[in-house]
Amino acid sequence: MRRAAPLILVLAILLAWEAVARSGHWNPLLFPSLSRIVRELIGFFGRPESLMEAWVSLQRAFAGFALAAIAGVTIGMLMGRSKWFAALLDPLFSGTYAVPKLALFPIFIFVFGIGSLSKVALVFLECLYPIVIVTSQGARGVSRVLLWSARNMGASGAATLRRVVIPAAAPFIFAGLRIALPIALIVVIITEMVSSADGLGYLVIYSLASLKTDRMLAVVVVIAALGWALDRALVMLRDRLVYWEKLETYYV
């Protein structure tokens, strides 16, 4: 019963949708029935073009995310372990944290062109913040006793980093990556909605402009499923690599 409760809620929402769609009070343009959305969804996976659009969006998200992960973990580690770096970069990151980096996108278009590069650059910038901030917290919080013990037993700086600091900070690094991954997808979709001729965000806007709301909703379902699947994949990777610490979160 406990596990069935959320299922019942989801089913109720879907049933309510179908009831509204079939009542005839509303234009099917506003509430396309589930069967039409499912048909479009099947069509989406049947067309190589639409799969290409998904691939384009995924590539952009991954490229920006991977660059942000590499740079962010490095910067976060430096900030967490070196007072000098923290003093230099902390004001920069906390000062511009609340500024929507999205506003830089029009300038990025001029600098990096209208293609993928400007989108990847914005994904990189938006993902960098959570990764840097959470990683530096983790690196700063490494237990002193562990560091002293390692030094006492004659571990070199590199060995201490590899065997003590990185494992201790790993749960934090993954927490930062987990915040950043949905952001990567969001930023790609937004930038594709704002200015693009390809990608899933473009497909959403294009379907709406051609008044195919059932197709638009099918794309929305695909994007939602992607967001969910990427998060699951990251959690699975985390459980493999950071097996010694169980994920704190409750349901996810």
Partner: protein
């Protein structure tokens, strides 16, 4: 340290200015030019109209989304039955980019402010819900037991124990969702709007008015920063009883 930081920032600005003198592309303005355009725009009526339009979307969205997030998050953290039915749905839809629903909301609620306010509210709901939820769940059981033992009512326990111990977490969630409200507002205005800072930067981009692009950028940066400062000032007031972390 503060002096070194200010010097580094000043050096950066001077370098930028010198680079601009040596010749940068049209779309990169020098710091002095940006400052001049920004202060010139401050004297016009248009900038305030756009800022007002943007805030009129972002703030109601933030307030509505956060209010629902706090209320439902605390409820899910306290009542097991509600938690079991509702929380999995929230966690399942959490990694979904909410902005893709904007076109749908535009169909349902019109292309005016309502659809934008609601999409901002939806985006703001999630971080606040999750933080309020974990905040309520992390309430020390011993405090609740003591209160029960001393004959406190459910409402009193909620007001005097659960809410205060969840408050730091709730503020952490509010901080995320305030930043999010500005991002979603800007995105929504870039996608479809006839006013606001996002609309301003789009039209500036299309008409190659680089000065206006930077005016919009500086305005949103200042708003985002000021909102964040205001929120942490409020938090420090509200959590004055809490021990400051060393």
């Amino acid at each position: 340290m503060g002096l070194a930081r200010a010097a580094a920032l000043a050096a950066l600005l001077v370098l930028w200015q010198l680079a601009a003198l040596a010749g940068l592309p049209d779309y990169i303005l020098s710091p002095l030019a940006i400052a001049r355009h920004f202060f010139a725009a401050l004297g016009t009526h248009e900038l305030y109209a756009d800022i007002g339009a943007s805030l009129w979307r972002a703030l109601p969205g933030f307030v509505i989304g956060s209010a629902f997030g706090v209320a439902l998050g605390l409820a899910a953290g306290m009542w097991r039955a509600f938690d079991g039915a509702f929380s999995p749905v929230v966690f399942l839809t959490y990694p979904v980019p909410k902005i893709v629903l904007l076109p749908l909301f535009m169909l349902w609620f019109g292309i005016g402010d309502l659809s934008k306010v609601l999409i901002i509210a939806l985006a703001c709901f999630y971080p606040v819900f999750i933080n309020a939820y974990y905040g309520a769940r992390s309430t020390k059981k011993i405090l609740v037991w003591s209160a029960l033992n001393m004959g406190a009512s459910q409402g009193r326990i909620f007001r005097r124990i659960v809410v205060p111990s969840a408050l730091p977490q709730i503020f952490a969630g509010l901080r995320v969702s305030l930043a999010l409200s500005f991002i979603v507002m800007f995105a929504a205005e870039m996608i479809n709007a006839r006013s606001g800072l996002g609309h301003m930067i789009r039209t500036a981009e299309n008409s190659l008015r680089f000065d206006l692009m930077y005016v919009s950028l500086i305005s949103i940066a200042i708003l985002g920063y000021a909102g964040d400062r205001l929120l942490s000032w409020t938090r420090d007031r509200a959590l004055a009883w809490q021990e400051q972390p060393a």
